[in-house]
Subunit: 256 residues, 2 copies
DNA sequence: GGTTGCGCCTCCCCCGAGGGGAGCCTGGAT
DNA sequence: ATCCAGGCTCCCCTCGGGGGAGGCGCAACC
């Protein structure tokens, strides 16, 4: 006689609420062993307690239900481990993010407004090897790292990236990671521009600290121009805190 | 001339999306310096970049917008620190939760089904000192700890708690933390009951591992009875992993 | 024989922090 | 004259359920 445990009893055994159990049923995550056709009453079996407990533990790790489903459906323990490890990686990077945010917050509270030394520069159109992909702003770091690693280097210039304005206004856009190369090896042309440039020292995650003063400077002078922003990375191999990055904001002309 | 930076420009400076900025405006979290009455166009000022960055950092810490508002509105740095520390505590406890979940998951994957040794026992109505409060299941641990610390002890019996069925089925209910005392000092009576009892060794957070087999046992015998479940805590002063807890499930009668 | 009341059901709306997109307005460039 | 960029509002969607309304069937109680 399959399915003998009513949902309320099952809830007590698993410490999952009735609401949650019905939700998991609807999603096909944990189907009661038997559902009465007339009344719709759910009936569970004792051997479903373990999967239910697994779900509960994974939810305590904030794993999305879709991933939990994948994990439970995976027939092979290897696949399960893969999903699990992927999630633990996510947790880990969330932790990193938290640590960085705390560090940034501390700087924000401790220091007064830093201000930025801004220079102006006109650059010609430059042939480069590059990779373009539509990414969210939160994924820019990993994308650039990956893309830059895949680019050739013939010593023509530093690594860089182009960020369209929509990336900032809408949070997603076509980012181009590039490195200048001799014309023969180029896959794209970094457009000519007149730029206001500020130097950022430190982690890439803290670049907003330089964008603020730079942008304020540019708009205060009324020389802001449309077009993608760009960043140039001079010491990607150095320690996180020692990296020098140029942030370049398009302008119509160098003031005065 | 207050308010000169349009929202898109401000988004580039702060790395907040236009959507997010409008959302913060609606909530009164970050009001543009100026809003055109006719067109509704928002205009920000350069000195709003810093508060915006603060918001961004706090959001990276998953602080709720309401708390961020409190923090920004707090005139006194002491108040700010209080809100901030409270949030860091929350993060910390979230981390604890994660660690526990990982440990529980490991046990779940490593060990086969543990099974539970179940005994039966009838207990008489017992006078006790107790505290009752409506709590969510996730807050049961802190509540019991706090309540038990406030209860008198005359050596009559071990600490315990009563959990109504709705606590499990709906996730919230009136929990009673108690300790048996001589009649004169009693504030409530723990009701008489016939109980199926299983012993749990280890952390309170892992008690569901004992509820499962115990409940399965009880329902398999068909002797489940209505009424609150109870737990008795024998070694609350021992190390987390060494604590002995009796989980008591109401039954109609001891089988055979 | 009513009438509670429990345990279960479905259905709908709600949260938080925005994302996605439709549809409109306005100003500047072509 | 037309197009587009960039702004606006409004509405629906996400995810993991919580809260509650309203209904069904069964058991116990008066």
């Amino acid at each position: 006689m399959p399915g003998t445990i009513p949902i309320g009893e099952f809830a007590k055994m698993t410490h999952l609420t009735v609401k949650a159990l019905r939700h998991y049923h609807r999603l096909g995550l944990l189907e009661p062993r038997h559902v009465d056709e007339r009344s719709g009453l759910r009936a569970y079996d004792a051997d479903q307690v373990r999967p239910a407990r697994t779900i509960r533990r994974l939810r305590e790790l904030d794993m999305p239900l879709a991933d939990i489903k994948d994990l439970l459906d995976a027939p092979h323990p290897v696949d399960r481990d893969r999903v699990l490890l992927a999630h633990l990686d996510r947790l880990e990077s969330g932790l990193d993010r938290t640590r960085l945010a705390i560090a940034g917050l501390r700087r924000l509270l401790d220091r007064p407004a830093p201000g930025a030394a801004v220079r102006y520069r006109s650059v010609p159109a430059t042939p480069a090897a590059g990779i373009t992909r539509r990414v969210r702003r939160t994924e820019v770091g990993p994308f650039c790292e990956e893309a830059h690693a895949a680019l050739p280097d013939d010593g023509t210039g530093p690594l860089g990236a182009l960020f369209p304005e929509v990336l900032f206004t809408e949070g997603v856009g076509e980012v181009t990671a590039f490195r200048p190369v001799r014309t023969a090896a180029a896959t794209l042309v970094v457009p000519a521009a007149t730029l206001a440039v500020a130097v950022h020292l430190g982690r890439y995650e803290d670049l907003d600290e330089t964008y603020g003063p730079l942008g304020a400077h540019v708009t205060a002078l009324g020389v802001a121009a449309p077009g993608p922003l760009r960043e140039l990375y001079f010491d990607p191999e150095l320690d996180l805190d020692a990296r020098r990055t140029e942030v370049c904001w398009p302008i119509t002309h160098a003031p005065r």
